[in-house]
Amino acid sequence: MSYDAAFERLPINACFDLKGTESALVEWIGAEVLPDFPAEANCCRKADGVSLEHVGPRHWLLQADIDREDDLNGALRPHEAPAEVSIVRISDTMTTFRITGTDAAHVLAIGCPLDLHEAAFPEDAVSFTEFFGQTALARHCVGGFDVSVEQSFGDMMEDYLKRALR
């Protein structure tokens, strides 16, 4: 009996790296563009297909479908942002693997030291962690997890996941 789990490599998302204080970011971007800022560390808020993820001190990721990239870029105006705010388009930097199935958590645990139990990693949790030795962003998806790694490691991760799913 092998695992009840499968993975797929997703197309890239629109992704913007936001750094600065919450107030400076809101002031620059305008509250209407963003979901509410997640109050807690390593959790996300979603609104209107846009997800805002609090992944580090004064550090958020804004993610949406890739066809929203230009819109968001226009709204965020990364190049004109004031000194106190850093906004960088990083859509290409990560590649995402969707791992689903009843054994998804086990398969993830082969590469990831994070406690993925719902008590420790609830539905709205999102966090940078380690996946097969590399930095990775982990979060829930329907029936499993999405794990994003630095794009250049994508082929290696695919290799790893194939091995893990045997």
């Binding site: 850093s86 645990a109 250049s152 290799d159 091995r163």
Partner: protein
């Protein structure tokens, strides 16, 4: 013919016979057997030979403590040493005894017994010296080593290593462990339970006890069923040994029969809030002459064979004990109708309850076994009073002994918990814990069933903050022992073994002490006691006892040796998990990697785990021809390389300029938007950390590029400074290495190629001068074009998002075809940079040189008061160490290639070096070999002749400036 199988009872499945081979002979066992129980069922008594003397041995124990019978599995399950007692019998299994040839019955190594008198402990330190150890070593090596080495990796299946988390990790599913798991599970905790046996129950499997008025195994089954029904009991593993207790409550569990049948073995790294060690206790043997003969067995092991496996380990048994536990075994023997000839108890007084269990079996109190008759199988024992009087010979084919119980403290001790000697139990028990763990049941010296259940429940109740539950009713047992560390009665002659596997006897320990090896660690090392495959699970404490007795000190003062992981041997495959073959080290690809492979590039590792093309060979070309072709393309036409792996960071904030001034040796803050500048970073102790290019994107936005290999190091360096030294500075760092790929086109025809690609950027020398950049489109793709050069030629670094990279690359190759474009690999890049004398950290920088040595004094800002490494470089240069400085070398014979790394010595003599060749390449512009070197005082030695010293030759070379091509840099600025 399983002629020793009892007609009823046992946990075996009589309906499922299993055929197996042992030492070439066919046998049949039953499902549920171990190899050991199946052998005993078939009346196979002589199963092994010992390590040093090759004495005949049988089965001694029933679990991982087995010291005597190691087997090697053959065929599909091939595996080196395994204790026969831990091998689950499987149909078609084939096993053979280790360390004997051709068989345990006829073992040629047995000649060693003739020389036994000459080979006491440590004999090899005293002899085998003349004329040389090399004469003896091969023979000794051949004789050692137990099983054969594995010949091939497993053919089917793979190993897995995986993380897990638990509130409570319970080790052991005996009565204490199950009770603890039940209490923790009912409290809603996440429970991880691991047990080394095939089924839950622990010692209950081997005994005939009752819990709550029913057979104990019913309670076990009910408990397991309840645990299975609780979703918060996440793992209930059988055949899974907890083998290491690491720091911060992280434990390793080796699961040998995972549910996923593709997985051969699994290693769990469990992080637990609380650990409950319910690891039970091992019975230890008694130390008396000939205590290693086949048929001498631990009493508890015999109990397991009778009760669990319905096997009669002999037809007529004598028991030898110093404690009460053996009497329960006697009772079970009687119940199974196996004859017990006598009980020899070294104590003068035997408790009444024990006498009741013995029934009509004669008890010789105050007596000891002073000899065993029979070499290849027990034929009888000689018994005497403790002092040696009143000898009696008793006929038997089985001698079952019990010297007391040792709590299995391995994991507790690994966790750095202290042990203390308990007089009443005559053994070491856990004392103060060092991590969040608690020992319960036998592991804590609580040997009775009632105390096992109680301590298990208590520990779990305390860990979970819940009430102590009502415990099921059991009969209270009592236990007493009078230690007997060795039989030293008059008339007791013959080898008395402490470590059966490594053939360590009482005499060996005495010899070690006599010679001054008097620490327990010395004794262990001098005699090799406890260093076998079993790591002394049954024997170690007897060695401590022997030392204590001989030195006349309490056992507490002797102390134990260190308990080192693993608790039981674990295969390396499980430890490694799926990280094997290609993924053993990470690898990184760019969107062009596939293209490179299709093009037949020779790929290799090139820093920070990137796989990069070394060169693009064509049929019929030599390596040098390939590299020359790529170099010529760049020097004469146009080449392109994939520069994507360079590290890139976007820096944002008011203080970026000031920050860059601090981390680079040169001034960066004066850079204007749209410009870039080459920079050098140092460590605080003045060594070169990295070189790269900084670009100013806007007023407060910068892009810093680093060498491929040091991207992560520089990232950490920047963040550390910003977060710990300058937390008030306004600088944000965002890694964008993989947001920007780049294809760099270089060569005199690069501008023509750019025109052919089509761009909306003014690429004229004035429109986009050297060391500047512009954003726009190239070949219709959004791109940033940067004018930097690592080859010395006119270069355009075309930066695009990875989603466009492959597209861009293919258009470049297409548009470049008329210009004879070549993709350029790392080898050609190396040649091109050497011709220009550009720095390569991997070649010229080896931990001693600074920028001045490299002829780059210009990059060490004199204007800045401070930057990282400034003070240290100044300090170092004020010392009187002779500097090795970068020079160019032209071999006097232009066809002489100097190996990279070759030392330079004065006159090429055999004497200390004065430098070394850091790089040597065939220059396509000069049509000769050229080299770079670090040479003592090299900057002032231009036009001297120096000598590279090879093994049997020297190569003379003329010293010059380290630049062989376009010294003015006109081409790259063109």
């Amino acid at each position: 013919m399983q002629n020793r199988r009892l007609p009823s009872g046992g946990g075996i499945d009589r309906g499922r016979p299993l055929a197996f081979r042992f030492n070439g002979k066919e046998y049949t066992g039953l499902s549920g057997d171990t190899l050991a129980s199946a052998l005993l069922a078939n009346n196979v008594r002589l199963t092994a030979r010992s390590f040093k003397y090759h004495r005949p041995r049988g089965i001694v124990g029933s679990g991982p403590e087995e010291p005597a019978t190691l087997v090697e599995l053959e065929g599909r399950r091939a595996s080196a040493n395994q204790a026969a007692t831990t091998v689950r019998l499987a149909d078609g299994m084939s096993a053979r005894s280790v360390n004997c040839w051709p068989s345990p019955g006829l073992d040629m190594g047995a000649v060693n017994q003739l020389f036994a008198g000459l080979i006491p402990a440590g004999f090899y330190y005293k002899t085998f010296k003349w004329p040389s150890w090399h004469l003896y070593e091969p023979m000794i090596r051949k004789a050692a080593g137990l099983a054969g080495a594995p010949e091939a990796p497993p053919l089917d299946g793979h190993f897995e290593a995986v993380h897990a988390h638990a509130d409570v990790l319970v080790v052991g599913a005996g009565p204490a462990g199950l009770m603890a798991a039940l209490v923790a599970g009912r409290a809603g905790c996440r429970v991880f339970l691991a047990d080394e046996r095939a089924e839950a129950g622990g010692s209950l499997l081997d005994r005939r006890l009752e819990i709550a008025g029913k057979p104990a195994l019913d309670w076990v089954a009910d408990s397991v069923a309840e645990l299975k029904s609780m979703p918060n009991v996440t793992h209930l593993l059988q055949d899974a040994s907890v083998w290491a207790y690491r720091e911060h409550n992280c434990l390793m569990v080796n699961e040998r029969s995972p549910a996923n049948s593709n997985v051969l073995e699994r290693n769990w790294r469990v992080r637990a809030g609380q650990v409950i060690l319910a690891t039970g206790a091992f019975e230890r043997g008694l130390v008396f002459p000939e205590n290693d003969r086949p048929g001498v067995m631990l009493a508890s092991a015999a109990q397991a064979y009778v009760n669990r496996f319905a096997v009669m380990p002999g037809e007529r048994a004598v028991f030898f004990a110093n404690n009460d536990s053996a009497y329960g075994v006697v009772a079970d023997f009687r119940a199974s109708g196996i004859e017990v000839a006598a009980i020899v108890d070294s104590r003068d007084v035997v408790p009444d309850f024990a006498r009741k269990l013995a029934g009509d079996v004669p008890i010789r109190a105050g007596s000891v076994v002073i000899g065993v008759r029979g070499k290849r199988a027990v034929r009888g024992v000689t018994v005497a009073e403790r002092g040696g009087h009143g000898t009696e010979k008793i006929y038997c084919d089985l001698l079952l002994h019990s010297g007391g119980w040792n709590p299995t403290v391995h994991l507790f001790s690994q966790s750095r918990g202290n042990l203390r000697y308990d007089e009443s139990l005559a053994t070491f028990v856990p004392d103060e814990a060092a991590q969040a763990c608690v020992s319960v049941g036998g592991a804590a010296g609580k040997l009775s069933l009632a105390s096992a259940l109680r301590t298990g429940a208590e520990a779990a109740a305390k860990a979970t903050g819940t009430e102590m539950p009502n415990l099921p009713a059991v009969v209270e047992e009592s236990y007493s022992i009078a230690p007997l560390w060795q039989v030293d009665a008059r008339g007791a002659k013959g080898k008395a073994f402490l470590d059966i596997q490594n053939d360590v006897t009482v005499d060996d320990v005495h010899l070690a002490l006599l010679e001054g090896y008097d620490n327990v660690e010395h004794v262990k090392r001098y005699t090799t006691g406890g260093m076998g495959f079993d790591q002394g699970k049954t024997g170690n404490i007897n060695i401590i006892g022997a030392i204590a007795l001989q030195k006349g000190v309490p056992l507490q003062d002797v102390g134990t040796t260190t308990f080192r992981p693993p608790y039981t041997p674990v295969s390396f495959g499980a430890i490694g998990g799926i990280r094997e073959e290609n993924v053993v080290l990470p690898y990184r690809h760019t969107p062009v990697t596939r293209w490179n492979l299709d093009r037949g590039a020779f790929m290799y590792e090139a820093g920070a785990r990137w796989r990069r093309p070394g060169y693009f060979p064509r049929d019929g070309e030599t390596f040098q021809e390939t590299v020359n072709r790529e170099c010529r393309a760049v020097r004469e036409g146009v080449g392109v390389y994939d520069g994507s792996p360079l590290g890139k960071f976007e820096l944002k904030g008011r203080d970026v300029g000031r920050f860059l001034d601090h981390i680079y040796t040169n001034l960066m803050s004066t850079l204007k938007a749209g410009q870039c500048r080459y920079g050098l970073m140092l460590t605080e102790d003045g060594l070169i950390l990295d070189d790269g290019v900084a670009m100013r994107l806007g007023e407060h936005r910068w892009l810093v590029s680093t060498s491929t290999a040091h991207a992560d190091t520089v990232h950490g360096h920047m963040e550390e400074l910003l977060q710990t030294q300058f937390p008030e500075w306004n600088v944000y760092v965002t890694p964008v290495t993989s947001q920007w790929n780049n294809a760099t086109v270089c060569g005199p025809k690069a501008r023509e190629l750019m025109a052919a690609l089509g761009t909306d950027i003014d690429l004229s020398p004035k429109g986009l001068p050297f060391m500047s950049f512009a954003d726009g489109h190239v070949a219709g793709l959004p791109a940033r074009v940067v004018r930097v050069s690592f080859t010395g030629e006119l270069s355009f670094e075309l930066n695009v998002a990875p989603r466009h990279m492959r597209d861009l690359w293919e258009r470049i190759m297409e548009a470049g075809e008329p210009f004879g474009i070549e993709p350029v690999g790392s080898e050609a890049s190396h040649v091109l940079r050497v011709e220009k004398g550009f720095l390569s950290l991997g070649h010229e920088v080896d931990g001693t040189v600074d920028a001045h040595d490299l002829g780059m004094s210009w990059i060490m800002s004199k204007k800045k008061r401070d930057y990282v490494g400034k003070r240290s470089v100044e300090l170092r240069r004020r010392g009187n160490a002779i500097r090795r400085e970068l020079v160019g070398l032209l071999p006097v014979d232009p066809n002489d290639q100097i190996p990279e790394g070759a030392p330079l010595t004065p006159g090429g003599e055999r004497c200390p070096t004065e430098g070394l060749v850091t790089a040597c390449v065939w220059s396509v512009v000069l049509d000769r070999w050229v080299a770079l070197a670090l040479l003592e005082n090299g900057l002032s030695r231009h036009s001297e002749t120096v000598h590279a010293r090879l093994k049997n030759a020297t190569i003379a070379a003329d010293v010059m400036e380290p630049v062989f091509h376009d010294p003015e840099g006109l081409r790259m600025r063109s």
